[in-house]
Amino acid sequence: MFRNNYDNDAVTFSPQGRIFQVEYAQEAVKQGSVVVGLVNKTHAVLVGLKRNAEELSSYQKKIIEIDSHMAIAIAGLASDARVLSNFMKQQSLGSKMTYGRPIPLDRIVAQIGDRAQTNTQHYGKRPYGVGLLVAGVDEAGPHLFEFQPSGLTHEMVACAIGARSQMARTYLERNLDKFQDCSRDELIQHGLSALKETLSQDKELTIDNTSVGVVGVTNGKKESFKLYEGQDTAALLEVLEQRESAGAEGESMEVDS
């Protein structure tokens, strides 16, 4: 049942210098369905693949709005994500109350990072079983951060976490150059394309299982976070399909020449 004696709690190192409970928590992130995030100079986009527990049940929410200027996408234990998102909502509201400003992204990400790290250093506690992508805008522009159960946080230009997310990361790495100066709508399409890469043969993106969140700055003015779900994603998926078929033609033409 146990891998060894060193994984009973999150405070004990193994002789190899590893903390197994934290590694198991990171496995929980890999079990979650995939979410993709990407930023360019003007916008930050989150896209997620929603799962339903059974045919007749509703889909699990993947993107949670924290405030009008930021949102998180989750992979892993949704209940742990709820604890973290409630905390983030409180902090964000607190910043608006006391300073009259939306909380800067690096600040709130550092706060959840510290909280998660604390959980790995106290006996009787466990790490959060969830990974987050935090996207939003502040005074310094749009940002994307990755958060891991270990408490590790990174600022990213593009990132994917969750099941089969390697495929999405490969797409993002290949197309990185195209993000920086592209438009809001193109950035969404890149996100959807990356998401599509992760799907297994028998799956496809539908209006039921796709979530898209966008936030950014246009002409120096902040654009509030907008979440596309259900019927709202139909137009976006249609564009994706057109691009794919156009892309396929383009590829075959390249082969011909």
Binding site: M97, T98, Y99, G100, R101, P104, D138, A140
Partner: protein, 260 residues
């Protein structure tokens, strides 16, 4: 010899009577600040085209005594904003330390201190309101000068109750009575900011400080003035009121040592 140390160094009880402990009473209700001790007087501020100018004199009074004559009552918040303090000087020093630690904390962030004057003013008003709600007020009336989130010049006041007030020109304390009418005459209501130059604003402040020195008995002729523009803060802390004329004093009758 008396072997009880608490009795050493005291007048002998058998000669002078027992010590009256009522002077050292520690029971009874706990008292917070109910009046300021060492105080600064007026702060004056004017918005102009492209920035804000703010000024105070350098005096800290102990009651009517001009106790400290080189007290800097304009304090900076990073390189973003200036705060001019009227009222209790020790509370000013507390708030200054608070703002300095906040600036340091902000600067740990990757993008540096992103709090602007407007954010700072909101925060200070909240601090004042919290303290007055604890019946332990910070006895100050402050002006905050700088820029808001849109990059527009910002000038606003906050007092010991947490009350906030904003206008193109503001003054606290005695200045609220003496300087504001002067500023309203110089820059009538509805004057567009574009028509107020930096030089006009600075000149108006100097005029206000001079009138305040004439008529406010808790003021001094040494002053500090800060001009905040997009280029940064230009702070002068050792200025002298120029061109005084006390001729008007001759005509004052009704108080003081007069023979006629």
């Amino acid at each position: 010899m008396n072997h009880f140390p608490e009795a050493w160094g005291r007048p002998r009880n058998d000669v002078y009577g027992a010590y009256d402990h009522s002077y050292l009473q520690t029971s009874g209700p706990k008292a917070h600040t109910s009046s300021p001790a060492v105080t600064g007087t007026s702060v004056v501020g004017v918005k102009f085209n492209g920035g804000v100018a703010i000024a105070t004199d350098n005096l800290a009074s102990y009651g009517s005594l001009a106790r400290f004559s080189d007290v800097k009552r304009l304090r900076n918040f990073g390189d973003k904003a200036m705060v001019g303090f009227g009222g209790d000087v020790s509370d000013m020093q507390y708030l200054d330390r608070l703002l300095d630690s906040m600036d340091i904390k902000e600067n740990y962030s990757h993008h540096g201190n992103m709090l602007n004057a407007k954010n700072l003013h909101t925060y200070l008003a909240k601090v004042f309101y919290k303290r007055r709600s604890e019946f332990n007020p910070l006895w100050n009336h402050v002006l905050v000068a700088g820029f808001d989130g849109q990059g527009e010049p910002f000038l606003s006041s906050a007092d010991l109750l947490g009350t906030t007030f904003s206008a193109p020109h503001l003054a606290t304390g005695f200045g609220a009575h003496l300087a504001v009418p002067i500023l309203r005459r110089k820059f009538p209501e509805g004057t567009p900011l574009e028509q107020v130059s930096k030089e006009d604003a600075v000149e108006a402040l100097k005029e206000c400080l001079k009138v305040l020195f004439y008529r406010d008995a808790r003021s001094a002729d040494k002053y500090s003035i800060a001009v905040i523009t997009k280029d940064g803060i230009d702070l002068k802390e050792d200025e002298q009121i120029q061109g005084q004329s006390w001729a008007f004093a001759e005509r004052i009758r009704g108080y003081g040592a007069q023979t006629a």
